[in-house]
């Protein structure tokens, strides 16, 4: 087994006295996709921000490639690790192609710089943004912005990828291509950690799943082991069913709406009466 590319130990983040993260441990190894899931406010994005070095934890430590985050020079780190944030905005009307090219900036002045054009083109083709090349990033739709940012992250050509909801605002086809690409990067040796809301997507594309609940790890392991009806129903505080797809065997995570519908009907009946 290879050593983990990304290690978080005892990560705790407190705002005042309430803990957003409470002693979270996480490992992401080369060659695997780890999905972070959990309800709103469980601390997924906070955990990713700590792992990315954007947020100093109250306690705990983070290592990238066996070196503590604080010991990295930012420029060196940018050649090893790329981060996709949730927000995609820009202050000036840069065209899409230039935004993607910004992903190459950590390689400036190095031999790899010669491949810039080819890598930018490949990253844009992979995210279906080639046709947008000359459009201004600022006026793109949410999904197009997300894909452009993902192309920029890919263009960075790093061995560690940290993706915060890369599928947000994407249509189902692009959701699949984005995660497929993340999967491909992992198969080629990258360590990928990805925050996902859609549990069926997480089940389909991740090797391991870390389920967070109120700042703690509620479950960790292979998707089939973590994604069970009882655990999810308790974590999400809503009845949830997990069933295998009849043809493909993929895990489908679905809300069990029977109880809610009963309640609604009861309400209506009461009101009618």
């Amino acid at each position: 087994m290879t050593s983990p590319a990304l290690v978080g130990r005892g990560i705790t983040v407190r705002y005042g006295s309430n803990p957003v993260l409470d002693g979270v441990d996480i490992d992401v190894r080369h060659g695997e996709v780890v999905a972070l899931a959990g309800p709103n406010g469980a601390g997924k994005s906070t955990l990713l921000a700590v792992l990315a070095g954007d947020l100093d934890p109250t306690a705990g430590k983070v290592e990238v490639l066996r070196r503590p985050l604080a010991d990295w020079r930012l420029r060196d780190l940018a050649r090893e690790r790329a981060v996709l944030t949730q927000e995609h905005r820009i202050s000036f009307p840069f065209p899409v192609a230039e935004v993607v090219r910004m992903g190459r900036s950590p390689w400036r002045g190095r031999p790899e710089e010669d491949q810039d054009d080819a890598i930018v083109a490949e990253s844009m083709a992979a995210t279906d943004t080639t046709a947008l090349a000359d459009r201004s990033f600022g006026i793109l739709s949410g999904g197009e912005k997300g894909r452009t940012s993902f192309a920029r992250i890919l263009a960075q050509r790093t061995g560690v990828l940290m993706l915060d909801e890369p599928t947000a605002a994407l249509d189902i086809g692009h959701q699949e291509t984005v995660l497929q690409r993340a999967r491909r990067e992992a198969d080629a040796g990258a360590a990928v950690v990805v925050v996902l809301h859609d549990l069926s997507l997480a089940a389909a594309w991740s090797d391991r799943l870390v389920l967070l609940e109120r700042g703690r790890v509620a479950g960790e392991g292979a998707p089939a082991d973590v994604l069970t009806g009882p655990l999810l129903s308790s974590v999400y505080d809503y009845p949830i069913e997990v069933v295998p797809h009849p043809a493909t065997g993929d895990l489908l995570v679905l809300a069990d709406r029977r109880a809610t519908r009963e309640n609604t009907r009861d309400h209506i009946r009461e009101e009618d009466a």
Partner: protein, 365 residues
């Protein structure tokens, strides 16, 4: 460790290089700005109460450097007038215009806001207050450089203040920026009023001259102070161009791409103060150049700072040379304050930009 799938041959042909039209446009822009600047400078140097033809202006310039090109001025006082009055003034216009335009572009990059500009947010007034202190209290601790040093300190303090006050969550909203500018300008205006009240008649006159802004009385000696400051500031800005592009993505993404955002920002703020001080220390407040010029350049070449900064530098110099020519010649026997002229044009432009920003941002975001 790099995980790079070799790009497929098919996709590599559809390379989205920076569009060729845009690169071509940048070259055309640089050449035309350069030519226009040279012509405007010669014309400005030849114009005034003593008219000197362009060829003779150029001749005088070349002869000074031992080059026997072109005719010397035919008027007996022609050569002397050029070298003691006209050339230093044109040189000052070039340096100040370049400094102001680059300072504007830089500030817009730091604040991530196209409306940031030294005079709008009050940095120019802050620098002017400190310089006025030097005038009123007759400070001379650094000789010729005293005014510039004071202006730099004033500008730096104001820029830092605005930066701290106007930012929230790593960006500056238009409303916050403009309102902060109003507050800072109000305080600076009050301090300038106080200094005028304290000063004697001569100091008062000098301070009024500051507020209006003028290149009248430019001497080589002053150009010698302003030019090195502006040069240092502009060179550092040009070196920062690529990282300024990354800053447009926001703080976190810029950091993820290897920019030490905090250090970078503080350094740029010092550079803005330096450039503003260079412009303000002998010429007073010349407003809006840093707003109008980078905006027009962006419309031609796009927002990339590697083209924007040097093009703004040339265009700023051109604008100020032409504006100063206007200030000297529009009304006969009168030297209008150049700051008045730039504000007359820049004020409405600022308003138009404000409306447009509001519309495109879908509100006062």
């Amino acid at each position: 460790m790099t995980v790079s799938a070799p790009p497929q041959a098919g996709t590599a042909t559809a390379v989205p290089r920076p569009p060729r039209a845009r690169v071509g446009r940048a070259t055309v822009l640089f050449v035309s700005l350069g030519v226009a600047l040279v012509v405007a400078s010669l014309a400005a140097a030849g114009s005034g109460q003593l008219q000197i033809p362009l060829a003779q202006v150029a001749g005088s310039f070349f002869h000074h450097f031992g080059l026997d090109w072109g005719p010397m001025p035919t008027h007996p006082r022609g050569d002397a007038t050029l070298w003691s009055v006209r050339f230093p003034r044109v040189a000052m216009a070039i340096v100040v215009g370049a400094a102001l335009a680059v300072a504007g572009a830089l500030m817009q990059g730091i604040f991530g806001n196209p409306l940031a500009e030294p005079s709008v947010v009050g940095v120019s007034s802050g620098a002017a207050v400190a310089a006025a202190c030097a005038i009123v209290f007759s400070l001379t601790f650094a000789g010729d450089w005293t005014l510039a040093v004071c202006a730099f300190v004033g500008g730096l303090v104001t820029t830092l203040t605005v930066y701290v006050l106007a930012r929230a969550d790593g960006r500056t909203e238009v409303v916050t920026l403009v309102l902060t500018g109003i507050a800072v300008n109000a305080v600076a205006g009050a301090l300038l009023a106080l200094l005028m009240f304290l000063g004697d008649t001569q100091a008062r006159e000098q301070i009024v001259f500051w507020q209006l802004g003028s290149l009248n009385g430019s001497r080589w000696q002053y150009v010698g102070v302003v030019a090195p400051l502006a040069a240092v500031g502009i060179v550092i800005s040009l070196l920062c161009a690529r990282n300024l592009d990354l800053l447009a993505l926001g703080e976190r993404p810029a950091r993820h791409l290897g920019v030490n955002v905090e250090r970078f920002r503080v350094m740029l703020i010092v550079v803005v103060a330096l450039l503003t001080a260079a412009a303000v220390s002998f010429c007073g407040i010349v407003a809006f150049v840093g707003l109008v010029v980078p905006h027009l350049i962006r419309m031609v070449t796009g927002p990339g700072h590697r083209v924007l900064l040097p093009a703004s530098m040339l265009a700023g110099a051109l604008v100020l040379v032409v504006a100063d020519l206007g200030a000297r010649t529009l009304v006969e026997y009168a030297d209008l304050p150049i700051g008045m002229l730039t504000s007359l044009v820049g004020g409405p432009f600022f308003f138009w930009l404000l409306r447009r920003t509001r519309r495109t941002a879908g509100g006062w975001a």
